[in-house]
């Protein structure tokens, strides 16, 4: 099991800036140093791993220390001793528990776990609403005793009457099922004048576990939605509780209302607003999911939270949400002006174990140091961060059509769910993961790592597969800058404008509007784009405008997807933008941008391309100059061929420019390569690669306005062919032809209309 993990406070850093590294190391000490990552594939069939040591201030030996992650989201209201003089208390909320049988879960608490003291409205051990009350010596617990149904809404409340010495709990389902007995109220005697108050903050969805190294720790973590929580400094009757559940309250209750929170306020952000007038505002911890439907969502008054915020006044909390691991920094690097733009990693090693924290040195803003940029797809790496493909769903093996091979980091992540999920995973309560952060160790963003989806012999996916491209560039002494798409999101077209050619990685799948528009403008401004992958520009994402390092996806409507959001959750909480595939978003399909779009996926064995009619067009003659072969790429490190894993097809009806040329087309894809669901209405037979003509990759070229051009390969496996035979092969040759022509400033004339 891994004993070294780490991350940095940023991935992209420019000369003069400082990047801080956080390390968890269970060995007494470790050594660290910076390497430049050129080739990270350790398969014997690949060229030798090339990690070039770069002397820096990081070099050295450091004491190891264990650092842990406290996952689980909640909301925190710092209320001090506001309630000390209020022995009577009521807590209520609309809730939709998703794991009511999980065990004790706090819905609203002012409960100090260390002192065992406080008051809490909980999902009790028996799955029903309950109250816990304790002065640290004596504890009173009471629950309704009728388990709540998972994924159904309830009004729940707990009251303590400090004068009369009574506790009461209420649970009312929003929908009555004739065969389900899940409604009830119960009360019991309790000591009068109980001194339950404590120094803990008021929390929603957790109890207070104190602080650890400056980070708040939630306990009794709740899974599910909470909507319209209210706290009163009086023991309310059920009728009074019902009167407070809405957004208008009788004046007679306002005097004892101590807090009423509107989770629809600041859906894009982290604050939770008290609208009672008591100003008990707070903030969420670990980024629970906002912009989710509340108990009163109708589906008839609009589908976006911006239309009717009052119907999205809920937050979905998860016991495995994690945003910022919040570790202590162990060392940092101030990037010297002389450090060349490129992909780097801090290599950490101790007692035979090795770990990497990958980062990018980009050029200073507005000062490219090359005419070629490699666009590091950080958003997609974040989307896949710490994926659990190999340990969550057994049907993964039918995607792979080969045995499931797990790697040590996956074994670790399976047991250490606190390291958080990828956008392909489900939370522990079965809901889809909408957010992914890079402020935590990302154990699959490193050289030498293998993955499930990349086929043999190398078995690489995303970052490490992308080092086939960087090693190819360096083999041919091609100078290049590295920039990340997070930089692109922030700076837009100006980041690209200084480059003649931009080259993508193997799978640039996740794009924000800012990223998409910047690339489009680049190709329309004389820029040249080499799209060296498959299934690119596919999902729309959103960045949070106040919280760095976190992205959101809503897999709305359709697409080849790991989960689907429920109706009413199709809009990003971070921006209010509609989520889903770019091909459904008005003239921004991948075909518009790069001439091809996602058509098939399969992960067993790759195939080859056959020269197509476009190759004979004089406009494309430069591409296969010196390449006489009819068959292209019947070899490679990813599945043994250049066409495989995820494939894109040329299709004018989906936006491919009509003048684009198909230079080569793949054929004989395996049965494991299946046609994408977004092209299907009724499912039907004959959708697999062995029989379906749409299961192929197209290698496409087209000119763009102002002398630019686009070259697309439409296959993730393509780059695995570049290093084959010591970089001497027809895929390498044709790619080099394209790169050299694209680096030539001579404009590409648009063909005659």
């Amino acid at each position: 099991m891994l004993k070294i993990t780490g991350y940095a406070d940023r991935v992209s850093v420019m000369p003069g800036q400082t990047i801080r590294f956080m390390v968890n190391c269970e060995y007494p000490q470790y050594e660290a140093g910076v390497v430049r990552v050129v080739q990270g594939d350790s398969a014997p069939e690949a060229p030798p791993v090339k990690l070039v040591p770069v002397p820096s201030t990081v070099d050295g030996r450091y004491p190891g220390r264990k650092q842990v992650i406290h996952a689980g989201s909640f909301a925190r209201i710092d209320c001090g001793d506001r309630f000390a003089a209020s022995p009577s208390f009521s807590m209520q909320a609309m809730v939709m528990p998703t794991t009511p049988k999980k065990g004790r879960q706090a819905i609203i608490s002012k409960w100090d776990e260390a002192a065992g003291k406080g008051i809490a409205l909980v999902v009790a051990e028996d799955g029903s609403a309950g109250i816990e009350l304790s002065d640290g010596a004596h504890k009173v617990t009471l629950s309704v005793g009728k388990p709540m149904l998972a994924k159904h809404w309830y009004l729940v409340a707990a009251t303590y009457d400090g004068a009369a010495g009574k506790v009461a709990v209420h649970q009312q389902p929003q929908h009555d099922f004739p065969t389900i007995d899940d409604s009830g109220s119960t009360e019991a005697n309790a000591p009068a004048g109980f001194a339950w108050d404590n120094a803990a903050p008021l929390l929603f969805a957790a109890s207070w576990g104190g602080e650890d190294a400056g980070r708040p720790v939630g306990r009794a973590l709740y899974n599910g939605k909470i909507d319209r929580p209210r706290v009163s400094t009086a023991a309310l009757t059920l009728a009074e509780i019902e009167a407070l559940r809405g957004d208008r309250w009788p004046e007679r209750l306002a005097g004892t209302l101590a807090g009423a929170w509107d989770f629809a306020d600041d859906i894009p952000g982290v604050t939770v607003r008290d609208i009672s007038g008591r100003r008990l505002d707070g903030a969420v911890v670990n980024m629970p999911t906002r912009g989710v439907t509340g108990h009163n969502f109708t589906g008839e008054d609009g589908m976006c939270w911006k239309d009717r915020p009052d119907q999205w006044s809920a937050i979905h909390f998860h016991d495995d949400d994690v945003y910022d691991a919040g570790w202590q920094a162990d060392f940092s690097l101030t990037v010297p002006e002389t450090m060349k733009s490129g992909i780097y990693a801090v290599r950490i090693h101790a007692e035979g174990e090795e770990q990497f924290v990958t980062f990018v040195v980009r050029p200073a803003r507005g000062k490219p140091t090359s005419k070629l940029a490699f666009l590091f797809p950080l958003a997609t790496y974040m989307a896949y961060a710490n994926e659990h493909f190999g340990t969550n769903d057994g049907l993964v093996e039918l995607h792979l059509n080969r045995a499931l091979v797990l790697h040590p980091h996956q074994q670790f992540l399976n047991e250490h769910r606190e390291y958080g999920h990828s956008l392909y995973d489900l939370h522990s309560d079965g809901s889809g993961v909408y957010y992914s952060s890079r402020l935590r160790p990302v154990l699959n963003l490193r050289p030498k790592v293998e993955a499930n989806h990349g086929a043999g012999p190398s078995h690489l996916w995303l970052f490490n597969a992308d080092t086939h491209i960087t090693s190819w560039l360096e083999h041919f002494d091609q100078d290049y800058d590295v920039i990340t798409d997070e930089d692109l999101h922030e700076e837009g077209f100006s980041l690209l404008s200084g480059y003649r050619t931009v080259m993508t990685a193997t799978h640039p799948e996740y794009y924000s509007r800012e990223m998409y528009d910047a690339v489009q403008r680049f190709t329309h401004s004389g820029g040249r784009l080499i799209y060296l992958g498959g299934n690119g520009f596919y999902w729309r994402i959103a960045y949070n405008r106040t919280q760095p390092g976190i992205i959101e996806v809503r897999r709305s409507e359709g697409g080849s997807r790991a989960w689907e959001p429920p109706t009413g959750e199709y809009y990003h909480s971070f921006t209010g933008e509609y989520g889903g595939m770019w091909r459904r978003q008005g003239g921004r399909s991948p075909n518009h941008l790069v001439g091809v779009g996602f058509t098939a996926q399969g992960f067993d064995v790759s195939s080859y391309y056959r020269r197509a009619s476009g190759a004979d067009d004089p406009r494309a003659a430069f591409i296969l100059d010196g390449v006489d072969d009819e068959i292209l790429g019947d070899f490679g490190l990813t599945g043994g061929g250049a066409s495989g894993m995820e494939l894109d097809r040329h299709d004018v009806s989906l936006g491919s420019p009509p003048h684009s040329l198909v230079v080569a087309r793949s054929e004989r894809q395996t049965e494991a390569h299946v046609h994408v669901v977004e092209d299907l209405l009724f499912n039907h037979m004959g959708t697999t690669g062995d029989v379906n003509d749409k299961v192929h990759a197209d290698l496409v070229f087209f000119e763009t306005p102002n002398g630019g051009a686009v070259f697309s390969v439409g296959s993730i496996a393509y780059s695995g062919a570049l290093p084959w035979n010591n970089y001497d092969n027809n895929i390498s040759r044709l790619t080099l032809n394209v790169l050299r022509r694209f680096m030539d400033p001579a404009p590409f004339p648009l063909p005659q209309a």
Binding site: A43, E397, V405, L406, Q411, K448, P457, V605, E671
Partner: protein, 105 residues
């Protein structure tokens, strides 16, 4: 019942021939009957699924049994230095598990 399931999958094809086909090439396009068979046995849930843990990159793999989400996997006897041999070992175990068919090397 297991035998009926097997017959439904292979649809009159000769099992020995299909087994030999798998042994010769466990990965990639199979014949229709063999693909139906392997699709069936590869559909095991994560609770109990047979899989491999890479113990030395590109060199050594250990047979494991998955025990479900978030639960530690169980290391089983069986260390392989060739993925095709590992595929074959899993295939044999699954033919026994699903159809009570004993296969020899």
């Amino acid at each position: 019942m297991a035998r009926q399931d097997l017959e439904r999958l292979i649809q009159g094809e000769d099992l020995d021939t299909l087994v030999a086909e798998f042994r010769a090439k466990p990965t990639g396009q199979h014949s229709a009957a063999l693909q139906r068979l392997v699709n069936h046995i590869r559909s095991e849930s994560m609770d109990g699924k047979l899989a491999l843990l890479c113990t030395k990159p590109h060199e050594e793999w250990r047979l494991v049994r998955m025990n479900g989400r978030a639960k530690p996997m169980t290391l089983l006897d069986g260390i392989f230095h060739d993925l095709n041999d590992a595929e074959w070992a899993i295939f044999k175990l699954r033919m026994k598990r699903h159809f009570d068919v004993d296969l020899a090397d």
